[in-house]
Symmetry: C2
DNA sequence: CTTTGATTTAGAATTATTCTAATTATAATT
DNA sequence: AATTATAATTAGAATAATTCTAAATCAAAG
């Protein structure tokens, strides 16, 4: 586990927003002024492959990264704001229908956030 | 509803693969030789906004488009292959926790497809 | 130390997608 | 039908996110 990987993992784990690669890069740069975007992308990819963090591909905006899941996401269909929410874990139900071998799942619930609902 | 929009909607509705914009463009081009990618992107965006089709942002590959949902997706974590699967509809459960205002949801279950499991 | 292999860097390259402006088609109005 | 207005399409440039390549640096093992 390399120096940068460690810090990137920390950043993702600590943040409660859902950071983009760019945001992570900017944040990391505050302490590691020499770091470069490619390094952040490389490390994020490695961390995702290893299952240490979770990637959220988004509609029309850069991917976001999230701590390892035990929660779901509420996404505003209008402005794209994301918040965490926890529904009952579905792993068992899913396995009943599929047999073993489920790795994980991604549940996003789309709604209109309060701000957007006003309009 | 314009000429191209109609055909694009048809293509998405008929296909059981989950087509990318590029694939839709190539398919449409067979009958409409003058059509251009921007038109396909424009129309896909409009159709998505109107809720006539569904966009699936993917990890590291172009977005895919799908007929209006009444099904979920099974995604191979290794090769990315997508297949349809139907779990019980969760809308009611979700609304209980959230109140009204849910627009829709996107459930993807990650697993290792049979081919990838062999390795 | 020296060698070997992995990590990082810099910057070019690629890919998907959007934008801009000009053109064409469609619909609405005289 | 002719004219105007509105929307859709085209071509191609532009953008933005991400990946690639090659060289440079670092870290670990002998």
């Amino acid at each position: 586990m390399t120096r940068y990987a460690k810090q990137i993992l920390e950043l993702v784990n600590q943040s409660k927003s859902h950071m983009t690669a760019e945001q992570i890069y900017l944040e990391l740069k505050k302490t590691e002024s020499k770091v470069v975007q490619a390094t952040v992308y490389n490390n994020l990819n490695v961390l995702c492959q290893e299952g240490q963090i979770w990637r959220l591909p988004m509609e029309g905006s850069p991917d976001r990264y999230d701590k390892i899941r035990k929660h779901d996401h509420l996404v505003c269909k209008r402005c794209g704001a994301i918040s965490d929410i926890t529904f009952d874990d579905m792993t068992k139900d899913l396995e009943e229908q599929l047999g073993e071998g489920i790795v994980s799942y991604d549940l996003r619930v789309f709604y209109l956030c309060p701000k957007c609902r006003e309009k």
